[in-house]
């Protein structure tokens, strides 16, 4: 063919790696791309074993791949998604990428020379761009997942996620027969506070309250915003006495120091209802919420800024007064 002269220059300028080994897996050819990236000269390594020249390739795995290509005379593949690289090479975006080595899509092809001798050609394509985009995507998805769980204003868990966690913790407590308690609390006279200081003042109090409560909790507790000014805390592996202690501390932390908003001091307090899980069955978490809610209502009725524990006799709400 008259276009034979093309193959050499194209192979040399190709932006992919081309490597050829014979049946003994000795190097026959490396194109410029590979020679430059790996700082190896073809003339120095020709005839040497692939594994002697590239010492960190996964030898057993690659031998198996090459054996299947030679025996079956059909191609074999490797994707960066499963194996980031076969031959460790630097890539050309060292600044913008978080990965140190070139991510590679590899194809292993069977070749025969005119005399019928068998070879394997390893094609290495740079997939670093795809790798980097994939990592960005993962990070973004993680952020998205987080923002999907969090209440934007207070940074406490949002209601949907908090309720999911409550449900799971209730199931876990039932399975392992561990105690579990729930606090539901409500900022006292929040409407009045909003009227007096504006909604920004109200928001400021909610943010400050959340911050003060959070430091009182363990990593294993779940703190969420249940409604406008209502919050819930799931206390795992905690019986009533412990829950009561936490509740008293929350009450004190909110009431002891006024919140400062635009040089004004806003005195504030919370009412807290406490209940320990005793219900069984699929709806146990709902029963628990109902019990803590009744206790919370009683705390409001008894004069606010206090903690009330649910007692089994209380089964229904009286007229709710805020």
């Amino acid at each position: 063919m008259s276009e034979d002269w093309l193959t050499g220059p194209v192979l040399e300028q190709l932006n992919s790696g081309v490597l050829v080994v014979d049946e003994q897996l000795q190097l026959v050819y490396l194109n410029s791309f590979l020679q430059r990236h790996s700082s190896v000269q073809l003339s120095d390594v020709k005839g040497k074993s692939l594994f002697q020249v590239f010492t960190d390739v996964p030898e057993a795995w690659l031998r198996r791949k090459f054996a299947s290509v030679l025996e079956l005379q059909s191609p074999s593949f490797s994707s960066w998604e499963q194996r980031q690289y076969i031959i460790k090479l630097p890539h050309l975006r060292p600044v913008t990428s978080s990965s140190q080595y070139m991510a590679q899509n590899c194809t292993m092809l069977p070749l025969k020379d005119p005399a019928g001798r068998r070879y394997v050609c390893l094609l290495i394509e740079d997939a670093t761009d795809a790798f980097v985009y994939q990592q960005h995507l993962q990070t973004t998805l993680q952020k998205l997942e987080l923002s999907n769980r969090i209440d934007g204003l207070t940074q406490a868990l949002n209601r949907r996620y908090w309720e999911e966690q409550l449900k799971l913790e209730v199931q876990r407590a039932q399975r392992y027969q561990q105690p579990l308690s729930l606090l539901l609390f409500d900022l006292d006279k929040f409407k009045q506070l909003n009227d007096q200081y504006g909604h920004l003042g109200g928001d400021c109090v909610l943010i400050e309250l959340t911050a003060r409560v959070r430091v009182l909790l363990r990593d294993t507790d779940w703190f969420g915003r249940y409604g406008g000014e209502e919050f819930g805390i799931v206390l795992t592996n905690t019986a009533l006495a412990g829950a009561l202690e936490v509740a008293e501390r929350v009450c004190l932390a909110v009431n002891s120091t006024a919140v400062t908003f635009h040089d004004q001091s806003i005195a504030t307090s919370v009412s807290i209802g406490v209940a320990q899980l005793d219900a069984v069955g699929d709806r146990a978490h709902e029963v628990l919420i109902g019990q803590a809610d009744i206790a919370l209502y009683n705390a409001k009725r008894d004069g606010r800024n206090r903690v009330v524990v649910f007692s089994a006799g209380e089964t229904e709400f009286l007229l709710k007064a805020n």
Binding site: P58, A60, W61, R64, K65, A67, S68, E71, L72, Q73, S74, P75, S76, F77, S78, S79, E81, Q82, R83, N105, T107
Partner: protein, 203 residues
């Protein structure tokens, strides 16, 4: 859909596939160092819209893998080969291929198995019609976590015709069953018909 091919063309295609299977099993047997018996594969032309329903029953209650690999040859021969098989089956084949569980990820193992099955079979097919094929890298469409019929639905609808090849590999100690689907776009079907016509004329 069977009207797409004449009866003669169908027989011819079945014969080509039988021979391709024979070649593939011979190669596999030598590679795996074990006796491989291949049953005569049943072929069926199906409307691609019916595919998800056809496979749902077989794979819905089991962990299955679905791996796709594109192929491209001369004379406008092209399409996508999809291999479906049960995962517990795959682990037995993986052991034969020399995989131990820690040196390679499951996805890597699945793509390797599918690629070997697909390319040995399709190369055998191509050889007989003086064609040669190149392949895209295999891609796992679904494994244990995803729903097989959903994945099929997303893939199959892009194609006008599907050639369903039911392959059953019987190895000495155990059997390995899988389904192979050759999804072929409309104009490539016409090209296959031309190829079949040419072969029939030569006889």
């Amino acid at each position: 859909m069977s009207t797409v091919f004449s009866e003669e063309q169908r027989d011819c295609l079945q014969e080509l596939i039988n021979v391709a299977m024979g070649l593939a099993s011979d190669k596999l047997a030598r590679f795996l160092n074990t006796f491989v018996h291949l049953q005569v594969p049943a072929i069926e032309l199906v409307n691609s819209a019916q595919i998800p329903a056809q496979f749902e029953a077989r794979y819905s209650n089991t962990e299955a893998a679905l791996v796709s690999q594109g192929f491209l040859g001369n004379d406008g021969l092209r399409g996508e080969a999809i291999v479906l098989y049960q995962l517990d089956n795959a682990h037995r084949i993986a052991a034969l291929l020399g995989y131990d569980t820690d040196s390679a990820s499951e996805l890597e193992m699945l793509t390797d198995i599918s690629s070997i099955l697909t390319t040995t079979f399709l190369n055998g097919l191509a050889d007989q019609i003086d064609n040669s094929l190149s392949y895209s890298a295999p891609r796992v469409l679904s494994s244990r976590q995803n729903n097989v019929s959903e994945a099929l639905q997303e893939t199959a609808f892009h194609w006008e015709l599907a050639l369903k090849v039911d392959i059953s590999y019987q190895l000495v100690d155990h059997s390995f069953n899988c389904d192979m689907l050759l999804l072929i776009p409309g104009e490539a079907v016409l090209n296959i018909q031309k190829i079949l016509e040419r072969i029939l004329e030569e006889y």
